[in-house]
């Protein structure tokens, strides 16, 4: 399992629960997830917090099927079947990877509008890890 310790996960709660991003004070680009140094200009570590809309479009996606899921998602794949993982271009610019939910894998299309919602991601050390997934925006 890709181990993420409880304190490490806890520190990412604002981005995982409510899409809190950051805007680089030097180049003005939006970073999500938040970075130590701006990934666009590589020249600034000064940011202002930015509440993202959670909306975006599917840039591309893949279906994770039998044997393809990382250990923390293996039970999910076994019980629920293959699940979509998408690269989504957010309204504010950044492209992020996330699971898609509330949709049959056959209905996922490139270019479709999506928005983030709080879902259970997986459990580790007896603690439920919540975070965003993308669902159809309608």
């Amino acid at each position: 399992m890709a181990h993420v310790s409880i304190p490490m996960y806890w520190r990412t709660i604002p981005q995982r629960y409510k899409m809190l991003g950051q805007k680089c004070k030097k180049c003005g680009k939006v970073n999500f997830p938040p970075k130590g140094v701006c990934k666009y200009c590589n020249a600034s570590s000064e940011f202002e917090e930015l509440q993202l809309s959670g909306k975006g479009t599917v840039h591309t996606f893949v279906l994770i099927g039998a044997g393809g899921a990382p250990p923390e998602f293996a039970d999910q794949e076994k019980a629920g079947g293959s699940y979509p993982v998408a690269v989504v271009e957010l309204a504010e610019g950044p492209k992020v990877i996330g699971q898609m939910s509330d949709i049959s894998p056959k209905d996922v299309k490139m270019g479709m509008g999506v928005k983030t919602e709080l879902k259970k991601i997986y459990s580790e050390e007896g603690v439920i890890r919540y975070g965003f997934k993308f669902v159809p925006d309608q």
Binding site: Q76, A79, G80, S101, D102, E117, L118, K119, I121, Y130
Partner: protein, 341 residues
């Protein structure tokens, strides 16, 4: 009520898209025990009552609209929380962007929890006229697959913004009745599953007694007659109970119709009367009266009387979500519920 007008200024509901039909239960077990329920809603693998409560909280705030940052009271209701000890409200407060300074409470020990939370919210806005309470009820009760009570257990959620201005429904009053009863629908500390004696008459006697006492006390205090209510939302462990209780209170089938969500969603536990209330608000006209009557084993009932004063509706409606569904079979259901280890 003492002069001060408070009520509901916004609301939202959520029904998961997965459904299982009663025929699938009948094929697996030879019978289906939830009277009048034809199918029920099921939460997906990546959902629980906290993600559902977060979703309806956002929807309720958007329906006003109101910023989560001005909420001064948050109350959460569920009988199937993922933790026995841990502040459940914390997840929803952060997930829905509710003020961290809001006083919060978790109501979890009976299916009456939904109206407990609502009344706690009303009391807050009565005492703090500029305040806003957000009340979210979400439930997906769990029992052993061998238990007949499990057949009806569905899933759903609803949330309400309570304020003293910009109202769509005014609170006319509330009344309660509680007494000692046991053996029906209980969870012991050592077991996360709901137990039940499965003696329907014993359970219904308590339900009918408590709910009629609470509702009659309220109507007497308000000087109301049953026929003055256009919508009556009664606790729905199955889809027949509202008729049994309604019959005793002289409420007819047309008054029960708009809130009868259990026939297509199942037993929503602590979210039963909240989702039923949301369904009634979806179709209510200005001037209509709504009676809400909850029941929780152990046992107690709250009755709440509301008068509709605005026609701002939440989207999507409960009915629109009832109509949008994807069926699963019983084996898929067992896997999603974690009944096959």
């Amino acid at each position: 009520m003492n002069g001060m007008t408070v009520g509901i200024s916004g609301y939202g509901s959520y029904v998961p898209r997965l459904r299982i039909k009663k025929e699938d239960y009948a094929a697996a077990w030879g019978s289906f025990s939830a009277a009048g329920v034809s199918e029920k809603a099921v939460m997906g693998l990546d959902e629980d009552v906290l993600t559902a409560a977060t979703k309806v909280s956002r929807r309720a705030l958007e329906s006003v609209p109101l910023e989560g940052g001005v909420v001064s009271r948050f109350a959460l209701a569920s009988t199937s929380a993922p933790y026995v000890e841990k502040l459940l409200s914390g997840t929803v407060i952060v997930g829905a962007g509710i003020s961290n300074g809001a006083f919060s409470s978790d109501h979890t020990t009976s299916t009456r929890a939904g109206t407990e939370a609502l009344i706690a919210g009303f009391e807050h806005v009565m005492a703090n006229p500029g305040g806003h309470a957000l009340v979210a009820a979400a439930d997906a009760p769990r029992a052993s697959m061998w238990s007949p009570i499990e057949h009806g257990f569905g899933a759903g959620a609803a949330a309400f913004v309570l304020s003293s201005s910009n109202l769509i429904a005014e609170l006319e009053g509330h009344a309660s009745y509680a007494t000692e009863h046991f053996g029906e629908r209980f969870k012991v500390t050592e077991d996360e599953l709901v137990h039940d004696l499965s003696v329907k008459k014993f359970f219904e006697a308590s339900l009918v007694s408590n709910t009629t006492k609470a509702a009659n006390a309220l109507m007497k205090r308000l000087g109301r007659k049953p026929e003055e209510y256009q919508h009556v939302a009664i606790q729905q462990p199955d889809a027949k109970v509202p008729s049994s209780v309604g019959g005793k209170l002289m409420f007819g089938e047309p008054q029960l119709a708009s809130a009868l969500v259990s026939k297509s969603l199942g037993d929503l536990g602590a979210a039963s009367t909240p989702v039923a209330l949301a369904a009634a608000l979806d179709v209510a006209k200005v001037g209509d009266r709504i009676m809400v009557i909850s029941y929780g084993s152990g046992a107690g009932s709250d009755a709440i009387s509301l008068k509709v004063v605005g026609d701002r509706k939440a989207t999507p409606s409960v009915q629109a979500q009832i109509d949008k569904k994807e069926y699963i079979n019983y084996v898929q259901y067992l896997k999603i519920k974690g009944a096959i280890k």
